[in-house]
Subunit: 382 residues, 2 copies
């Protein structure tokens, strides 16, 4: 198995206004995306990757030969990999509202000439699906062979199958849920409050003040990170190992346990790498996602109109989006008489497991995707 | 069952220096405490209550007839209640390092004439046990009929049984652990970082700057609060109910879900009611508690020297100090041939369950305490 190699992001400026779920209209927007593999003649091998909370378009390969890390899902996307770029044309974009090149809170608001900041419209999953639909049209694709996403990305994938049923042949939903639990919302709320209470936040207009709410974003990421890891995984990786090897009993700021240094490092890196308004926007989209809300709160009714096959995947130690949440999705799909496969993977990495190489998870994805390859081959023989 | 009624805190100034686990010496200290019930002639009915992270001496009754709330464990302490003040002489103190009257970071440092702030010595459970031992002597008690504590209080209770085995006849350890999990430490670390990164913290000398790190303490409490509640309990109490009844899609600071308002309220109240340095000190004492550390990391060896009977209680939905942690304690005690009773209570309130009225929990405590009453009666008949 090899890498997709050196890749370059592309971007497109969509100059048609788009109506958003909040009632506002975005006059135009830019989408940054990457593609891996070749679109076949009948455009039947296109796969859309929807990213999660802090994700972006750069899912596979490297931008420069000396990049330290490849794209965030490089373990699963590439020649010979489960999402095989010898077979599929893979499209991965940065969603609007994000902070990696697509139009978002750090972009310039054409009305003011200043960064949008907190004035950027709040978004919901359906807005992302609509913007992704236009990208699909731009690429001359009429139907995705598969829409795939983990976590918040899984919510977009499910929404795709309901909003544009004829455009989705397969839908792969990994470590996701039909709506957040109260506890999920609570953790997101603490993360947001950390950002909002940072004096450098300036009501979300920190860029105009030439500053960043770094401390707030750092805390938000630390809270988030605890919920991405499993309790056992954390214990296995860090235990109660002391960083300095001796019991520092002081009141000092020094991290004493390795888990403390790890969280601080994660928080510090994130505090300048991500945009605070994007973080608020993304967590709000998570909180407000409620798949069945438009269908009388009946998930079975929601899935009734879907035309695709589904693969649902969960991880045993994921307590942010537990297997129970995935089973609820599966049960609703079965009750709606939809074809659904379900795999519960015994992995020790909590919610993060969806990003981490794991042989059974890899096999499940590979087998499912190969089934799609075979469908395509059968069709072209027919 | 009635209340202990109106109670008044007492206090004593201990003018003998005390050596602390950190190697420093506290020249003198004040302890604030309350007592409920009457000490009997042979001082065999004294019960010590050890408080948890944010607790204090005021465990039962009211200070004023118009107090809105009684003491924090009023449901369990009083005439006819499980810890029956018709039978027991109950002692409840505020630990040093706290912020409710006993010497702590908000007290004046005699060396500087200013509040100790962050210069207050870091403490460990054994320091509290030593200061409580002096209180025991002051009250002319030679042996506690029982030392009782939940959470961090349970750690003190266990430590008592190892440090002063001849002074403890029964030891009741509720929702506790022999040491924190990596995840526990991680949550405490986020809480501390929230405080440390508040610009009003001023390296822990905020009182000298006439300010308080309110935002930091507020966030710390919000994080803590999520971990005190069970996921199911939170769902049952708050669900995904929207506060305003409509989907506010804005970027606004308005709480949308009831769980958000609840957490903000809890955080706001705590942010001025508790001292930030005390919070750091208490969470550090929690993190550093490691019962078996001095015994070659062998909990069986640790309990070998104990002379008391134990009651261990855990709650099914407590994920901060899960039943598994209590079972580890019980298993070590059994292996050390110590008399131990264990009750795992099916309660829906997470870690907070140890404070909340619950009939089976109440019965377990009541029965165990009545056994002590009977022991005392048998002894006086003999």
């Amino acid at each position: 198995m090899s890498s997709v190699g050196i890749v370059s992001p592309q971007s497109h400026y969509f100059d048609q206004p788009i109506d958003l779920a909040c009632g506002r209209t975005l006059p135009a927007y830019e989408l940054v995306y990457e593609t891996y593999g070749q679109l076949n003649a009948d455009a039947s091998n296109a796969v859309l990757i929807c990213h999660a909370l802090s994700g972006h378009h750069h899912a596979a390969g490297r931008h420069h030969p000396d990049d330290k890390h490849p794209g965030w899902w490089d373990a699963y996307i590439g020649p010979g990999k489960p999402i095989d770029t010898n077979k599929f044309f893979v499209v991965s974009l940065n969603n609007i509202g994000g902070c990696h090149g697509s139009t978002g809170p750090t972009s310039i608001n054409p009305d003011t000439g200043k960064p949008w900041g907190a004035d950027f419209p709040p978004l919901r999953c359906r807005d992302w699906v609509n913007t992704q639909y236009r990208l699909m049209q731009l690429l001359h694709i009429e139907q995705w062979a598969a829409v795939i996403g983990g976590s918040l990305g899984g919510m977009q994938a499910m929404r795709w199958s309901l909003m544009y049923p004829e455009c989705v042949r397969h839908c792969v939903v990994i470590a996701s849920a039909m709506k957040l639990s109260t506890q999920n919302i609570a953790f997101n709320e603490v993360a947001r409050q950390a950002i909002l209470s940072d004096p450098e936040f300036h009501d979300g207009h920190y860029l105009e003040h030439n500053t960043l709410p770094k401390q707030g974003l750092r805390l938000a990421r630390m809270v988030g990170h605890i919920t991405y890891l499993s309790e056992d995984g954390m214990k296995e990786k860090f235990g109660r190992e002391l960083k300095t090897g001796s019991l520092d009993l002081g009141h000092s700021d020094e991290a004493e346990f390795q888990i403390e240094s790890y969280l601080r490092y994660q928080g510090d890196s994130f505090s300048t790498a991500f945009d605070a308004n994007s973080y608020i926007l993304m967590t709000k989209a998570l909180d407000m996602f409620d798949l069945a809300n438009d269908y009388g709160d009946d998930p079975v009714a929601a899935f009734k109109g879907a035309l695709c096959d589904y693969l649902i995947v969960s991880f045993t130690t994921d307590w942010r989006f537990s297997p129970q949440r995935s089973r609820e999705i599966v049960n609703a799909m079965i009750a709606a008489h939809k074809p659904v496969s379900y795999a519960e993977i015994d992995a020790n990495f909590g919610h993060d497991a969806f990003l981490i190489p794991h042989s059974r998870y890899e096999t499940v994805l590979r087998n499912y995707l190969q089934r799609i390859v075979k469908e395509n081959e059968d069709k072209s023989c027919a």
